[in-house]
């Protein structure tokens, strides 16, 4: 295989002074030179990433944000967030109409666009892409979130009845497949017009299809690498076997986007993207990738990434917030909020509002390992919840645990999201005196006091030290109140930690969660509805909040939706089920970690819905 990048001068025997000298310096330098030469070329960008993609099929992939980094450069969507703005603009579509009170969307498509395998982009390709998302029905991926939906009646017509992961589906037979297709969720009106039929009005429809979940894939490419299922009972349409992952599409891609997936090495998670010479140029015809080659290299070691960016052998490097003071001045940042790089030639753009929040949750129905209900249920008393919330010094946490890269939030939404409302009130503040009073009062009812103390254990993820820091602070604060609660902190392995909160064994636990869309629906449901992901594991249920959630979900009037969201958030806050530690801010354009750039990298802009960079915007000076 031809080496990528400019040819490297080979070490000739005549110039080697002595074997030892070669071994000592030549070896080390050659290893770095390989990277440096590639990076010095203006048409190649090298990025040291902390965690590379796991797979690149747009209908899968929630936890590895680097997947999305590939998807947003190789695939495209009907509408999109172009530039730093947060409103979707027409991209592969030229326009759309909203009909039937938000239950029908008709899109007009652009002409003359080709997929990377040479075939034409048309309405049939759009139908194929979305039907595929529903029919593949991957339970850990997007097929269940969008367009299937996570609560009845679902989003796409007929998807809820089909899906076994979240919906009412019973099997993956051909009959089930045909039933979904017959429901007519996606209709090809003509080669340039496609129609979506939803099971209910869905306010977030446009923002969802603007993300990677709306990626349009080349049907002929998928079909060419697909095999019919061997099981005669299994339903399918050409290219998609119902309920089954496509191994080829895990590591390969063919979209309409400005870059092609040239290499994706699953073993190392390294990725090489190459500029697409056939790219149609974007709606204004002005999208021309300056970078011909993008090399994304998974480098697990923070120190290596740091040294690489400082030495200039890479153009971008992920630097975890915990190590940010290796690149920026600590005092200037913590006290003046100025990001001043410590090394010349490095630029640290930011801070930017990100789509990650940190929070603590209190379990209202603590269970024993055997599944029975624990005898001591402190968090069912709102005074205990308020007291614990008041014992968290969140300002100290934001400053010293997250190194200043978190901002205070009144609710579990970040400022980057629709519906964020700074006027929402929290029912607590950091006040140890108030906490003591509340706990003493509650203690007399619940049966604990300084004379008769009760033990509690806070469980953290051993692989996430920041949780240990916060838990230790909270435990120490409460223990010092001497009200009869003796808190201990235990660090568990990742799988044990996950099992603990899934099985509701935890009492007070600390978490972070990120959102792949800027739409607030996922977090509103997770924190505010009884069946929501986080609320479920705390047995938190406020029926009024649940009803408000459903209302805003179906609202297609942004003003009305925002009002309903605010009302719902205030209700949940009054219950004090959650302690909002902060919303992460970032520098660079983070995937898993925030990142820093060399000053030679130009054209960067930040959009919170991006995961990693949109490479056509970048160039090197």
């Amino acid at each position: 295989m031809k080496p990528i990048g400019p040819d490297e001068p080979k070490a000739s025997a005549a110039t080697r002074p002595s074997r030892r000298a070669f071994l000592a310096t030549g070896a080390a330098m050659a290893a770095v030179a390989g990277a440096r030469d590639a990076s010095a070329a203006n048409h190649t960008l090298v990025w040291d990433i902390a965690a590379g993609p796991q797979y690149v099929d747009p209908v899968l992939g929630t936890s590895a944000q680097a997947n999305v980094m590939v998807l947003q450069n190789v695939y495209e969507r009907l509408v999109w967030y172009d530039g730093p703005k947060m409103e979707p603009v027409p991209w592969l579509a030229t326009g759309w109409e909203v009909k039937d009170n938000g239950q029908r969307y008709v899109f007009k498509l652009r002409k003359g666009i080709k997929f990377q395998d040479g075939t034409n982009f048309d309405a049939q390709a759009v139908k194929f892409s979305f039907d595929r998302a529903v029919l593949l029905d991957d339970p850990t991926g997007i097929g269940s979130f969008f367009p299937t939906g996570t609560a009845e009646p679902g989003i796409f017509k007929g998807a809820w009845a089909f899906s076994k992961s979240f919906g009412a589906g019973k099997d993956y037979s051909q009959a089930a497949v045909d039933a979904y297709l017959a429901a007519g969720a996606v209709k090809v009106v003509d080669a340039e017009t496609v129609e979506f039929n939803l099971a209910q009005p869905y306010g977030a429809f446009l923002s969802d299809i603007a993300t990677f979940m709306g990626s349009i894939v080349s049907p002929s490419y998928v079909i060419a690498h697909w095999k019919k299922p061997s099981d005669p009972q299994r339903g399918f349409v050409p290219g998609v076997t119902a309920g089954q992952r496509d191994d080829w599409m895990l590591a390969n891609a063919s979209g309409t986007g400005p870059y092609t997936l040239s290499i994706f090495d699953k073993a190392t998670a390294n990725v090489v993207l190459k500029a697409n010479p056939q790219y149609w140029g974007g709606p204004a015809g002005n999208v021309k990738p300056a970078l011909q080659s993008v090399i994304v290299r998974t480098t697990l070691d923070q120190a290596t990434r740091l040294l690489d960016i400082k030495s200039g052998s890479v153009d971008i490097a992920d630097i975890a917030t915990a190590s940010v003071f290796d690149v920026v001045d600590k005092a200037k940042w913590l006290d003046q909020k100025k990001l001043e790089p410590l090394t010349p030639g490095v630029s640290v753009p930011g801070p930017f509002p990100w789509l990650t929040i940190y929070f603590a949750k209190m379990n209202l129905k603590i269970k024993n390992p055997d599944g029975s209900l624990a005898a001591f249920q402190p968090f069912q008393d709102i005074r205990v919840r308020k007291a614990f919330a008041s014992a968290v010094n969140d300002a100290d946490i934001r400053r010293n645990v997250f190194n200043g890269f978190a901002e205070a939030i009144p609710w579990g939404l970040t400022p980057a999201q629709f519906g964020y409302d700074p006027s929402i009130k929290k029912a607590y503040s950091f006040d140890l005196k108030a906490a003591k009073e509340m706990l003493e009062a509650a203690g007399s009812d619940l049966g604990f006091s300084a004379a008769k103390p009760r033990d509690m254990v806070l469980i953290t993820n051993a692989a996430a030290p920041w949780q240990g820091y916060i838990a230790t602070q909270v435990a120490s604060n409460i223990n010092q109140l001497n009200v009869g609660l003796k808190l201990d902190v235990k660090a568990l392995s990742f799988t044990e930690y996950v099992n603990s909160w899934r099985a509701q064994l935890t009492s007070f636990s600390i978490h972070s969660t990120f959102s792949l869309t800027a739409d607030p629906n996922s977090w509103l449901s997770m924190f505010g509805t009884a069946a929501g992901f986080w609320a479920r594991t705390s047995s938190y249920d406020n029926p009024k909040a649940g009803a408000l959630f459903k209302e805003q979900f179906q609202s297609i009037d942004p003003k009305q939706r925002a009002r309903l969201i605010s009302e719902m958030m205030q209700l949940v806050n009054d219950d004090v089920a959650w302690v909002w530690l902060g919303a992460a801010t970032a520098y660079g354009q983070p995937t898993f970690n925030p990142n820093v750039l060399r000053s030679t990298v130009k054209g960067f802009y930040y959009n919170p819905t991006y995961q990693g960079f949109y490479f056509p915007a970048l160039s090197k000076a």
């Binding site: 120190a303 740091l306 915990a322 190590s323 003071f325 290796d326 100290d396 946490i397 400053r399 010293n400 645990v401 051993a462 030290p465 240990g468 820091y469 230790t472 602070q473 435990a475 120490s476 223990n479 902190v489 235990k490 660090a491």
Partner: protein
């Protein structure tokens, strides 16, 4: 040359003994001098600070004083290593003496020790501790199981050669019982090679324990232990290298002092070297 005489002659051994004594005293005194609650006290504002007048070893990622943490860890590490070697010695000595005196037990015991000794120390300790579960207690049990065979073989060899000595034959003629002979006469004479090995072994056990604690048997951030201090400090090694340097230096100095004592012990006590 008596043992003590040798000690006085060797300056290195004296230095080693002195150093170890200091470490032992420090480790023993640590829990009374330093409050155990320090382990849970977080001071984030002062985290990852370099060594200064207040914090001689600097502070760690929780803001805790590293000097106190290292001292508290000394207590755990020293007491555990000594206890492990002590228990392994007792088990090995008793079984070895039995093997030497009771022919029916000899072959089976030697086969068993052969098996244990055919797997390297660290690897066997890993395997046993992995099965028992990840904790310092289980690690200690595993290390006892790894170390007793060495003493068993040593003891058995020495007992076999003691048996041929005239005093043992005389005791038998006098009608002294076998067990009395073993425990009151043979063991005290045969034990010298074991004593010769023991100090250096405490050092070896310490390093093995710290290494295994480093790879993952560590007791977590709230129980100070030298190996796990290094493991958690490594994440911040470039911001705060003292987190790795001081606990490591503690292990090194302890091990060095034990090796110096061990050299003297070998010279002084091992009868096989005295010929």
């Amino acid at each position: 040359m008596s043992a003590v005489g040798l000690l006085r002659r060797s300056k290195l051994a004296m230095a080693g003994a002195g150093m170890f004594l200091v470490l032992l005293l420090v480790g023993a005194a640590a829990p009374s001098m330093i409050s155990a609650s320090i382990v849970r006290d977080v001071h984030f504002e002062g985290k990852l600070m370099p060594p200064d007048a207040r914090h001689w070893f600097g502070t760690d990622d929780y803001g805790r004083d590293l000097f106190s943490m290292v001292l508290l860890a000394a207590n755990l590490d020293l007491s555990a290593s000594i206890a492990i070697v002590a228990v392994a010695t007792v088990i090995g000595v008793v079984l070895g003496a039995l093997a030497g005196f009771v022919p029916r037990l000899d072959q089976p015991l030697m086969r068993i020790t052969d098996i244990f000794l055919s797997v390297p120390n660290l690897v066997l300790a890993m395997a046993i501790a992995a099965v028992l579960g990840r904790s310092i207690g289980n690690l200690s049990i595993a290390l006892v199981f790894v170390w007793w065979p060495i003493y068993c073989r040593l003891m058995r060899g020495q007992v076999l050669s003691e048996r041929e000595k005239p005093y043992v034959k005389a005791l038998a003629v006098l009608g002294v019982g076998r067990w009395r002979t073993i425990f009151r006469h043979v063991i005290p004479n045969a034990i010298f090679p074991v004593i010769a090995r023991a100090p250096a072994d405490v050092g070896l056990v310490l390093i093995t324990m710290a290494a295994l604690s480093y790879i993952g048997f560590g007791p977590g951030p709230y129980v100070p232990e030298w190996g796990s201090l290094i493991a958690s400090g490594q994440a911040y090694i470039f911001q705060a290298p003292w987190l790795v340097i001081f606990p490591g230096a503690a292990i090194f100095l302890t091990s060095l002092s034990l090796n110096l004592i061990g050299d003297w012990a070998r010279d002084a006590f091992d009868p096989r070297l005295r010929s």
